[in-house]
Each structure stands twice: as structure tokens, then as C-alpha cells.
């Protein structure tokens, strides 16, 4: 195949475009800062996101006031703490002490077992047990109270000796992530975040630098035309950024054991398109700004909403409706849907096509805007 396309290759190697590409490659290889930028921030971000963000609800600090002091009350405490969802942090003698400890934030949940528990048990009467949960963390409180009810109802069945299981028995199967490992949710999302940040930053820096130094005018004096200059800039960067995709993917695979269920080819194809989106955003920023500093600062205005509305960190479905509609105009949202789809769900284009089409549209529109702006600035 290589031999067949030899004349074509030769033409390429002798072209002006290729000369410009070589110039860019040399420049990039000499720029240590850029290489560092391509390797370290993505690695650190992936590791911290993957490890630090964890919605698990376990080891909730439980304060206990046990007025009953019977077998039953101790069994109840054991039932609550045995799955490590609750942790019997501290025992109190009075309710007041328990309440102050919750107010100080020392414990997150409280359990008050009344003195009449044993008498009620003997007379077969129900006993009310007070439980409270610190609602500051609304999400955790909701999940914890769900667990609590589940544990209580199991415990009740044990008490009554009613060993027939509940007649309707919902058996939950967690698809795509059976172990409910939170890193599997965050890593594919953060992969998109990292690519957005790094591709827009590096592309804008390489363009602005030339503007900063005034060498862009010199390039313009040469017979090279605008698109040749621009694409010569993009090509090596694009290849390096693909290297970042590989880097991020291997961190996900090796460190977090994130599965890869779908097609590798499709993943790289769509990632490539997404890189074009990121690169065009960077070039657009570069045409808007005069200095590197301005580029980085204005990129905040674009990157922040892009990341927050993408669903990489908080699910899109729980945003207010208005923000859900806005998020449709966020290319990162579509890319995150694609990475999660391919990595975790293992679905292909038949499911992902709306997102893929959206990405292509974004890439085409943004690229033509930035090329146009670049050209008009040159002339």
C-alpha cells in the first residue's frame, strides 16, 4: 500500500505544507513547557478525580442513646453497623448530649432506643424508635435513610421469626458497573474534561505565541496560504493530543480498571473529531486575544460552563430543565455520552449516532469559524 501511494507521498514530502509541519514539530519538541503540559495536568486530574470523588455511603457516624439496654437493642445496633453503612461512633447517656454532638458535626446520625422497648416486646406491642440524620448533605441523608428503612424491615422479620421472605422480591442488577465503582463513572467523564482543557490550551498557545513574537507576519510574507499555516500547526498537535487520549485511557484501564466494552476504532475516531472541536475553540480564543495571559483567562469563560454542563461530574438529568436544554449546545456533553457509551455500555454508532452527528457539526462549524477568523486576521 505504501509503495502504491509513493508518488503521492513524495508529493506530500516535497510540499510547502510538509515543510511547515516539520517546522511545527521541531518547535513543539523544543518547547518543554508544552510537553509537560501535555503529560502532567491530565494525569494528575484523572487520578484525583478518580480517587477523590466517591459517592459511597458508608461509615456514617452514628451516635446512640440506649435507654433499653436489652438484647434486642444491642441486636438492633449490631444490625445497623454490620454492613459498615453505619459506624457506632459514640454512646451517650442523655438525648441532649447526642443532639449537641450532631449540632457540632461530630456525628451524622443519631439513634434513640426508648426504655419501654423490652416491655413492649413482651406485650407484643410496637415500639417507636427515634432516628435522625444530619440533612446538611442532602444526597447522603437520602441514601442513608433508605438503607436505614431496609435494615429495620429486615430486623423486624428476624424479630417476628417470620422467615418467609417478602412476597415481592425486587432483585436489583446493576448494569454496566455491577460493583458500583464510582471511578468508572468519573474517569470517562474526566477524560473528556481533560481533553477539552488541554486541546484548547495547547492550540491557542501555539498560535498566540507566534502572534506574540511577531513571527506570524513573517510566515504570512512567505507564499504559504492561511489554511496551510493553520493546518500545519494543527497536524502535529493533533497527533500529540491523540497520545493524550491513549495516556488517559491507559490510566483509566491500569489504575482504575475501567472496562472497555465497545469498539476501539470508533472511540479513537470520535475522539479525533472531538479533538478538532477543542483545537478550534483554542484557535478561536487565540484570534480573540492578544497575549497568552488573556487566552488563559478568557478560556475560563468557555471551559467552566462547558465542563459543568457536560454531565462529567453531576448528572445532566438532575439539572433544571433550562440547563438541560443549554447542555445540548455543549460539545463536551456529547463526547462524555460517547465515552461512557463506548467504555461502559459497549454500544456502537447505532445508539451513539445523535451524539456523533452533533460532534461532527460542532467540529465543522467551529473549525470554519476559527479558520475564517484566522484568515481575516492575517490579511
Amino acid at each position: 500500500m505504501l509503495i502504491e501511494s509513493m508518488p503521492w507521498l513524495e508529493k506530500l514530502f516535497n510540499s510547502r505544507f510538509w515543510a511547515l509541519v516539520q517546522k511545527e514539530i521541531n518547535q513543539i519538541l523544543r518547547n518543554k513547557q508544552l510537553i509537560i503540559l501535555l503529560i502532567f495536568p491530565p494525569t494528575i486530574q484523572l487520578l484525583i478525580y478518580g480517587y477523590a470523588l466517591n459517592p459511597d455511603v458508608h461509615n456514617i457516624k452514628l451516635g446512640i442513646v440506649d435507654y433499653a439496654h436489652t438484647n434486642t437493642s444491642r441486636e438492633l445496633i449490631a444490625a445497623l453497623t454490620k454492613n459498615r453503612i453505619f459506624l457506632d461512633q459514640k454512646y451517650f447517656l442523655r438525648e441532649v448530649d447526642l443532639a449537641t454532638e450532631v449540632e457540632k458535626g461530630g456525628i451524622t446520625a443519631g439513634l434513640i432506643i426508648p426504655p419501654n422497648l423490652s416491655r413492649n416486646m413482651a406485650q407484643d406491642k410496637p415500639t417507636e424508635i427515634q432516628v435522625f440524620i444530619d440533612g446538611v448533605d442532602a444526597n447522603q441523608a437520602g441514601i442513608a435513610s433508605g438503607y436505614l428503612n431496609q435494615i429495620f424491615s429486615q430486623f423486624n422479620r428476624q424479630l417476628t421469626g417470620n422467615l418467609t421472605p417478602p412476597l415481592i422480591n425486587p432483585q436489583a442488577i446493576f448494569l454496566y458497573n455491577p460493583g458500583l465503582r464510582s471511578s468508572w463513572f468519573f474517569v470517562p467523564g474526566v477524560l473528556g474534561v481533560v481533553l477539552t482543557l488541554i486541546s484548547s490550551l495547547t492550540s491557542s498557545i501555539t498560535v498566540v505565541k507566534e502572534k506574540d513574537l511577531g513571527t506570524l507576519e513573517q510566515l504570512l510574507m512567505t507564499p504559504a496560504i492561511a489554511w496551510e499555516i493553520l493546518f500545519a500547526k494543527i497536524t502535529p498537535l493533533f497527533i500529540l493530543l491523540l497520545g493524550d487520549v491513549v495516556l488517559a485511557l491507559s490510566i483509566g484501564k491500569l489504575v482504575f480498571k475501567v472496562p472497555f466494552q465497545g469498539s476501539l476504532f470508533l472511540f479513537f475516531f470520535l475522539s479525533g473529531i472531538y479533538l478538532f472541536v477543542g483545537i478550534s475553540i483554542g484557535i478561536m480564543l487565540a484570534t480573540l486575544c492578544r497575549t497568552q495571559q488573556q487566552v488563559v483567562l478568557t478560556s475560563f469563560f468557555i471551559n467552566l460552563p462547558m465542563i459543568q454542563l457536560s454531565g462529567a461530574i453531576a448528572p445532566i438529568e438532575s439539572m433544571p430543565t433550562f440547563f438541560q436544554y443549554i447542555s445540548l449546545f455543549d460539545p463536551l456533553r456529547h463526547y462524555v455520552a460517547i465515552t461512557r457509551g463506548i467504555l461502559l455500555k459497549g454500544v456502537g454508532l447505532e445508539v451513539l449516532f445523535p451524539h456523533a452527528i452533533a460532534l461532527v457539526l460542532f467540529a465543522v462549524v467551529l473549525m470554519s469559524i476559527s479558520v475564517n477568523r484566522f484568515r481575516s486576521q492575517l490579511s
Binding site: I44, I48, L53, N54, P55, V102, E103, K104, G105, M121, D124, P126, T127, Q130, V131, D134, G135, V136, A138, N139, A141, G142, I143, S145, G146, Y147, Q150, S153, N156, R157, L159, T160, P166, L167, I168, N169, P170, A172, F174, L175, Y176, N177, P178, L180, F185, Q292, Q293, Q294, V296, F300, P305, Q308, A314, P315, S318, M319, P320, F323, L344, V347
Partner: protein, 369 residues
Amino acid sequence: MQRIFSQCIKELSQFRRNRLTLALAFLLPLMTLIIFGFAIRLEVKNIPLAIQDLDNTPLSRAYIERLFATNKFIAPNEQVQGYKAPEVLIDRGLAKAAIIIPSGFNAQIKNGKASPVQVLIDATDTNNARVINNIIQATTRAFLRSSKIQPILDKIIPKTRIWFNPGRRESLYIVPGVYALILWVYPSLLTAIAMVREKEQGTMLQVYASDLSATELLLGKGLAYLIVAIGQSLCIMIIGAVIWGLKLAGSAMPLIFGTLIFTADAVAFGLLIGVRASNQNAAIQVVSLIGFLTALLLSGFIYPLSNIPFPLSLVSSIVPARYYIDITRDAYVRGTGWAGVWFSFGMLVILGLFLFNMARTGLKKMQLL
């Protein structure tokens, strides 16, 4: 003293003249507040739930009705066709969960035997997978009890109350956290830029040559940006109160003093980065990377701090934002006051002194005197 103030006034007038930094100082915090404050919600409402009822009896239909009566679920846009696998809907993202009721469901239960019901949950979002599972389990128990199919005489009845935030409003949890994020990142960014600009433009050498000491220079610059940061905090807290109806739950004193100290910490962090970084880009990148990562991820802003694993949890214990979040959440939700936050307050003071001292020694090395 006089020299500190004149340094501060000089800095403020420079700050006012640069339109980009002005925008950065007030527009960006506002945008961040609105986006984070609205878009970060963890609990999904209106979960599309696919149903495959292979039994189709009054009992199974009553059960399904009961599930939808929780108002947590909605029917997906497409229904499961006959005997086809409902996973397809989950694959395509049309449904977040599916319930498969087997044929013979009614007959089994009427005979007093347990009938399994398969629940498929999309676990790409692990947090919501748990929430969905909890809702289904709880609703099933409630259904068994209320429909008198399996009357269970509960011997102990939990009376659960959620304290401080009985409606479980997520904005009460998220917005006070956003304050910490904003007041950490932007004041430190502005300060670091101002510091490095002086170096880049070479005016720093003039300062070195003057008899202004490192401490005086840093205090003067720091004071100027502390004033800007106080302006930012007033601005975002007033707007936050208007949009999300946040009200102080207790005394305002811990919040006021905590905010002062925390913004001073942020400014000190900016000074430190400014002293260390050689150019503005490096400064901005370091502040935005470290600042955002620590304040967003290692501060307990989204998920509980206790879930951060060991080596990282050490890092998180020196992140000032985590202590400030304690203070803001206490001020807006718990309302305990000093008794609950004195430790966080003390940590903020210690970390602030530490950051300032590092910046001072860093600058001293460069000065001749």
C-alpha cells in the same frame, strides 16, 4: 504602616484600570456561582422507568401503579415491545431502570410464595443507581404492607427525621460549597497575576532596590486584593441569598470572620504562587489547576470527605476550602455557631499564617536586604 497603605492604594488603582482583571474579578465569580449553583444536583428526579409486565394481572398492575405513584419515575418515551429485552432501552439511554415482572407473579403470591421481580438499573451513574434501588425497595415494602398481601406486624418502627434540612434541599448543600470554591480560586488568581506582572514588567527590581521590606510589600498587595475579595464575597453571597433563598441559620459572626480569614488565605496562596512563578501563564495555570482541583475535589464540596482514600486524605486536610465549607454550611444550614466551627476557624488561621510565611521567605531570598 503608611507604606503598606500606599502600596495597597497603588495596587487598587492599577486593578481598576485593567478591564480584563475587573471582569475576571466580578463577572467570572457570578458566572461560576450561577452555573455551579444550578447545574450541580446529584439526585435525579423523573427517572424514566421501563416496565415489562409479563404477568398483566390486577396485582401486577397495582404494583406498577404504586411505583409510579412515588412521583420519582416517569414512563420512558418508548415502551418495551412484548417479550423483547428491556436492556435495549437502557442501552440507548431512554430508560434508567427497567422492571421485569415474571408471568405467574400473581399466582405465586396468591399461593403465599415469594415472587422475584427483576430490576435492571443503569449503574453508569453509581450514586443514582443506589438512589433508584432504594426507592424501588422502599416502595415494594410499602406496597406489601398497604395492599395487605403480606401484613407484617412491625415490632419496632423507625421514626426518621432529617435534621437541619428536612426537605433535603440540595441547594442548601451545594451553594455554600460554591462560595468556598469561588472565594478560593478568584482572589488567589487575581493576586498571583498582580504579583507576577510586577516581575514581568521589571518593576519588581525597583521594589527590591527600595527600602520596602518583603513583608510590607506582601501586606500591601495582599490588603488590596483582600479588599477586592471582600467585595466579591459580598456580591456572591447577596446574589446567592436572592436566587436560592439562603438564610443564615444562626449567628452571622462565624461566617463574617471565617470569610475574612478564608479570603486572606486565598490571597496569601496567590502571593505564594506569584512569588514562585516566573511568568503569568505559569502562575495562572498553577492557580487554576491546583486551586480548582483542591477546592472542588478535596474539600468535601460534592461527596463526603470521609470517602477520600488515605494518601489523598492527608492532602485534603491542608486544603483551606474544606474548613471554610464547614463554616458556610454551619452558618446556612446547621446554625450551631462557634461551638461547631472553632476548629475549622483555627485551621484557617494556621494555614493562612503558613502560606503567608512561605510567600515571605520566598520573596526575601530575592531581596538583597
